[in-house]
Symmetry: C2
Subunit: 455 residues, 2 copies
């Protein structure tokens, strides 16, 4: 009998997250305050104290609170699958594994941090949280996280998505969150934008500003972000730690790890525990491929520069590969991959030569997603389709070279809320986008001037 899935028991589920900061060969550049441009921390009125501590902690392993573990266990550990049927269809000697996060109640990896953030907010006596969401993936995960701890949640959802994609909004409401279209009349910035343009379609930048404005002055309210920052990547390492143990059960170790990156938390969560082996010199040939859309190619086309984390320039300045904080990427279906920058940890690792990056065009990612659905059965979300494209390409390269490499895919979730995108692909209406060279150039001209000297 060929074993198809490798699953840890609940007792084997990791009880600590892995923090890569103390293991980095060179220290991570700091956050800079958007006003003073001096090193800073996550702003105290917006974030739980524990999260602020975690953000720059030098502890290698940070214990997962028992209450968070209890909730993790409602869906974790998640399975490591061997993709025998995809391998056969590709006629490749490569061994393809995928760690699948789509069995969480929200259908993706996002609850790993949502649950932790809601828990820490509760610990601080907080009763209410705010956040922004684009297509609704993050908003719904945080709605679930807040539900578990009885925290009220208000989600500012980009208006065009709010109107076009009602299902994720309803999912948030089903878990008890309040979701409003952004720009909304509920904040000063929202009212200002609506006064200028009552039909504004909104943007993630506006939604972030509204969520921060809402949380800022209120003692009972925290703001939450679903990716990019160190602590969010930390929470996602539960997945990589599980994957590493499960690979041991499969008696295998990856030669190549592939995942998609938007803000970076899904893929870094999987690979950081493996990067540790590479840093320690144990696995020097391990390749880690960060896959992004050609429509938003921050890692492959952007400079490694200081830039604001958000469109409005209110968030801290970070060192990252960026297309410029004012760049608005084309409307590809992988809404989770439309961020102008990238998690500083991923950028730092790339700068140090520990990981690589690759960009793939939209249509080819859906072709790959369909091949995955028609072999393994799982219909992936548009985001992991980007990674699947590269997995298939690498497996086909193995066929050519005759090498039997072991490939590990970070499969972040299912596409049950994204069927309209598959319809476009299947009916031949899906299009690729040109790399918006001119727009990026304009956005890069607006990078903040920083004279902070790195150590």
């Amino acid at each position: 009998m060929k074993q198809t899935k490798f699953i840890l028991s609940e007792k084997e589920m990791p009880t600590s997250w892995y923090n890569i900061l103390p293991d980095l060969p060179k220290p991570l550049p700091p956050l800079l305050h958007p006003g003073t441009k001096e090193p800073t921390i996550l702003p105290p009125p917006l974030f739980p104290s524990a999260i602020r501590d975690q953000e720059f902690s030098q502890e290698r392993y940070i214990e997962i609170p028992e209450e968070v573990q209890e909730i993790y266990r409602t869906w974790r550990p998640t399975a490591l699958h061997r993709a025998y049927r995809l391998e056969k269809a590709l006629d490749t000697p490569a061994k393809i594994f995928f760690k699948y996060e789509g069995t969480s109640q929200a259908g993706s990896h996002k609850p790993n941090t949502a649950v932790a953030q809601a828990y820490y907010a509760k610990q601080d006596g907080i009763k209410r949280m705010t956040t922004e969401t684009g297509a609704g993936q993050w908003g719904s995960a945080l709605a679930m996280g807040c539900m578990f701890f009885g925290i009220e949640l208000k989600v500012y959802m980009v208006k065009v998505s709010y109107n076009q994609k009602p299902y994720r909004r309803i999912l948030m409401e089903t878990w008890g969150a309040k979701c409003v279209p952004s720009p909304s009349p509920d904040t000063e910035i929202g009212r200002k934008i609506l006064a200028e343009d009552p039909d504004s379609p909104g943007s993630l930048g506006i939604a972030i500003s509204e969520a921060i404005e809402d949380a800022g002055p209120r003692d009972d309210t925290y703001y939450s972000i679903g990716s990019v920052i160190n602590s969010v990547l930390l929470h996602q390492t539960i997945n990589g730690l599980e994957a590493k143990k499960a690979m041991e059960k499969a008696d295998a170790y990856p030669d190549i790890i592939v995942g998609c990156i938007g803000g970076g938390s899904n893929f870094a969560g999987l690979y950081l525990p493996f990067v540790k082996d590479k840093i320690e010199g144990k696995k020097q040939n391990l390749r880690i491929i960060n896959v992004e859309p050609t429509a938003c190619p921050s890692m492959t086309k952007g400079p490694y520069a200081w830039d604001y984390g958000d469109v409005a320039g209110m968030a801290p300045i970070v060192k990252m590969y960026t297309l410029g904080h004012t760049f608005i990427p084309p409307k590809i279906h992988a809404g989770g991959l439309r961020y102008h920058g990238m998690a500083p940890i991923i950028c730092h690792l790339h700068h140090l030569g520990l990981v690589e990056a690759k960009a793939v065009p939209q249509v080819a990612t859906f072709e790959a997603g369909i091949q995955f659905a028609r072999t393994e059965g799982i219909v992936p979300a548009p985001e992991p389709n980007h990674a699947i494209r590269v997995v298939i390409d690498e497996a086909l390269a193995c066929k050519k070279s005759g090498e039997s490499k072991t490939i590990l895919l970070a499969h972040s979730g299912h596409g049950h809320f994204d069927m309209a995108a598959y319809d476009e692909y299947l009916s031949g209406r899906l299009e690729d986008y040109e790399y918006p060279d001119k727009l990026v150039k304009e956005a890069l001209a607006q990078l903040p001037v920083v004279d902070y000297a790195e150590a």
Copy 2:
């Protein structure tokens, strides 16, 4: 540490299905031919030979073919969960377990039989299958099953659902099936109906007739049905056999088993292995509650009578609790529970006093589903919400009586394709339906006259 989930290893996954027929205290009444009204078998040109054999087999355990087991292992075994958070919210001494089938690639239990049926068709050298679907749950599961074995599939989908619910149609297409709105111009009966009424919204009865007409005369094509018949219930017992082993791991045995019934395959699949214990006298106090909608109360309001399995009167006549084959139930959101009759095995067990039935109104089921989503995180499909209503009621009864009963719920799948129904509930637009007494009376007047004398 409280263990939340009880999961078998792949090696522990059952390798045979359980067939209750040889264990029944009295034999199951036969199928009668719709024309001659004499005992008959499943029609050979429509069904695989193995399925026809299974339909009335007297073998207690029927081996699951290795190729089917291999595909089962892409998502099975599924987890048995302990619903600690729901128990706490209800403040009940009851222990609530649920066996969750929503982690299959199609999001429900339906692939358990879809995969088996496609396999057996392939064994007979069949290249093509047809089926009907209402809201699309069954059509998409069979699309997945046929995909695994390279069988072409044509799904006749009730036109009103085809237009209103495009996502399940796209899911079928993603797996490679062809899906057309029924009535279609592709069959004689479809053309006839369209000639009379080009705007016909279609019905499940029409779609069944089209799928059968399409498959009937073609040597390369079989017809497939997703519930009701003995062999489909047999395939679903994989779930009950797993549940029984997993309950052993949890060191528990249910006092009450609860599930929803439409055609009956989901719930019977879970409970038949437990009914065996009851028949053998080992667990005489075990209660098994079949839950149906008050809008379609075949078990609680229908007579135990001979009736056609389909609306058109082309399918065999079976002994079952029925509302009359011409009865069209109100358009509740639980599309899977809108069948006029019920699986003959379930009806027989009820007639023998081995299981009970209960009907619940729609709004109360969504109230229960929301409570489940807001405690366990999983947003259930409208069908299992019916069962969850009764689980909550039984758990609250335990609170009153102080009894610590063990309740096992058959949780058949998630509601990610049913968010519009939750929207109706949350916005106060969801309604209950009166039991359509007059319509049922009219339909019951059209039962076939049968003078077959039972043994």
